[in-house]
Amino acid sequence: MNKINHTTKSISRHAHLESLFRGIYMIRKNVLALIGIGLFLSLLLMCIFAPWLAPYPEDAGDTIHLSQSFNPPSLLHICGTDQMGRDIFSRIMFGGRNTLLAGLIIPLIGASIGCTLGLIAGYIGRKTGSIIMRITDIFLSIPSLIIALLVIGIFGPSLKNIIIALSINWWPWYARLLHGQVISLREETFVEASKLLGAKSTRIMFSEILPNAIPPIIVKITLDMGYAILSAAALGFLGLGILPPIPEWGLMISQGRLYLPRIWWITTMPGIFIFLAVFSINLIGDGLRDLFDVEVM
């Protein structure tokens, strides 16, 4: 008896130690994710409160102070000034509102369209399902940025059209992801049970299957926010997004190109902010992926 007691004790101590190690390991592993969250939130807050925080809020528009033009980065203008003498840091703060907005909204719209279709295709199956999945495949067979260009070519350039154009071709990924999940989940016993209890298909789809399929979707939405920011900035760089004088990160980079190589800060600074935003999102996404232990494309 004593011996058994002793063994359980040592096992439980062992287990304690192990859970302690695991805890330390998780925190150590997620330090990066925490840094990501902190960085992203501060960028986001900086942009949201730009009108109050920006050192020169009036520079967001088309103000001109020619005497101040092309000042290199200094304490007065930490990112320097552009050809019109506007403070670049203030413009970055205002510009981020557009770039980050696009990055946050696009995956959400894409996910809601794609998940609904994937859920229907996976649960109902048969003809409807295979038609939806064929359409998904065709959408997936053209690079998404190309469809976006096509749509913007028809609608004309604007931020709204960038968001529409990119959302239109973000959904097929979610449709495919959820379709796969649903197919494996619908055979589970808990689905069978609620079917026997007489639950409606919509109830089974949205409150039984969907919650179980959520972790990979959350990870994918997070990682996609980074891609969406990069895509929106690329389209802005091509002049297909917001039109000047309103600032946007991609557009600012393209405007600064005219003054290279001597005036390097107009192109360099907004790029650093795009990088920081996407970098922090990727840190968060990687952390979530480890946490949920899922692999998404």
């Binding site: 064929r134 495949d137 065709i138 959408f139 067979s141 053209i142 690079p143 998404s144 940025l145 190309i146 469809i147 260009l149 096509l150 749509v151 913007i152 070519g153 028809i154 609608f155 004309g156 350039p157 980074g226 990069l230 900035a233 690329a234 760089f237 091509l238 002049g239 297909l240 991609g250 980079i253 190109r257 290279l260 190589p261 390097w264 192109t267 360099t268 790029g271 795009i274 990088f275 996407v278 970098f279 990727n282 840190l283 990687d286 692999e295 494309m297």
Partner: protein, 337 residues
């Protein structure tokens, strides 16, 4: 299913996908509520001009007739006039296409040649210094905006160090190699034109590097994950405990298995390289369809936009077809799906 049957099946699927892509692009253009004629002429154009442009673009006919005309022209190598170059779009895209293809191939080669060894080392030496370094590199690679990286590279290597050209495809004093494939690097090698080869190599380095960072990062990440996962697989463990040399296990079993997911995304990565070439070609004034397409969108050149989209779609389908063939070869399981 034997490999040959699998190949045949994939080949048969190829045609409906191609047709589907053409239909999708046609529908997107014609059903979305934008008016290409009005967009091309600007908001102040008089109605009579718009009507006549609509007539000359064939936009006033019913949609199914438009589609038949569109298909008929497409098969005969006609895609309508480009408003920018005043030539048939078909001529334009076939002229600009090889430059983009060359760039994409070089970029993907860089990504594969560096990415695969880096991913393997990273996976085998998990949590060692090499691994941490390569993870940092790949995290940077997926986070950096490619057009910005392109500008930074030009700033560093062309403006400050002056060792690589700023833009273009070949030096201004050098005549391009005889047209055989349209790929300068290959043509100049075939004709043994070394001046042209060196010059085009110098021109392609920076744009290719800017395009390759993101696919490189994704290859490293995926390969690393694959190796870590399979390292502890039961059959690998068994081989190890039977005393099989580690090198042999790695080479013969582990790498092949871990390489499969990488192969499956190479098609996607190729597509992302082509899509991103729109911005990178603009930065380097690279005379490819990316720059042509970006200009077409900017100036609302309707036929050119459609032409570029279809060409990119076809390229993507062909690349995926090739990838699928390799896939069926590497992973016999997919032949039975």
């Amino acid at each position: 299913m034997r490999f040959r049957d699998y190949l045949l099946k994939r080949l048969l699927l190829f045609i409906p996908t191609l047709f589907g892509v053409v239909v999708l692009i046609f529908l997107l253009v014609h059903i979305l509520p934008g008016d290409p004629a009005r967009l091309a002429l600007g908001p102040d154009a008089p109605m009579s001009q718009i009507i006549s442009l609509r007539h000359s673009l064939g936009l006033d006919k019913p949609i199914h007739i438009q589609f038949i005309i569109f298909l008929d022209n497409f098969i005969h190598g006609k895609m309508g006039l480009s408003l920018l170059t005043n030539r048939d779009v078909y001529q334009d895209v076939t002229q600009f296409y090889p430059a983009s293809l060359e760039l994409a191939i070089v970029a993907m080669s860089i990504a594969i040649i560096i990415g695969i060894p880096l991913g393997i080392v990273s996976g085998i030496k998990q949590n060692k210094l090499v691994d941490h370094l390569s993870r940092v590199v790949s995290l940077f690679g997926v986070s950096i905006p490619r057009f910005w990286l392109a500008i930074m590279l030009v700033l560093a290597f062309s403006f400050y160090m002056r060792i690589l050209p700023i833009s273009g495809r070949i030096g201004s004093g050098i005549s391009p190699p005889t047209h055989i494939t349209g790929l300068y690097l290959m043509d100049s090698l075939i004709t043994l034109n070394m001046t042209a080869f060196v010059s085009s190599l110098k021109h392609i380095i920076l744009p290719a590097i800017s395009l390759s960072v993101s696919p490189l990062a994704q290859i490293v990440r995926l390969l690393r994950a694959g190796i870590i996962e399979h390292k502890r697989a039961p059959h690998v463990m068994m081989m190890k405990s039977n005393g099989m040399p580690e090198n042999l296990i790695n080479r013969k079993y582990l790498f092949k298995l871990s390489f499969i997911p990488v192969l499956s995304i190479i098609g996607l990565l190729f597509a992302s390289v082509i899509a991103m070439s729109f911005v990178v070609e603009t930065v380097f004034s690279w005379p490819g369809i990316g720059r042509y397409g970006a200009n077409a969108v900017l100036y609302a050149d309707f036929n050119a936009i459609v032409g570029v989209t279809i060409l990119v779609g076809i390229t993507f389908i062909i690349v995926n077809f090739i990838v699928d063939m390799f896939y069926g070869y590497f992973d016999p399981r997919v032949r039975y799906e």
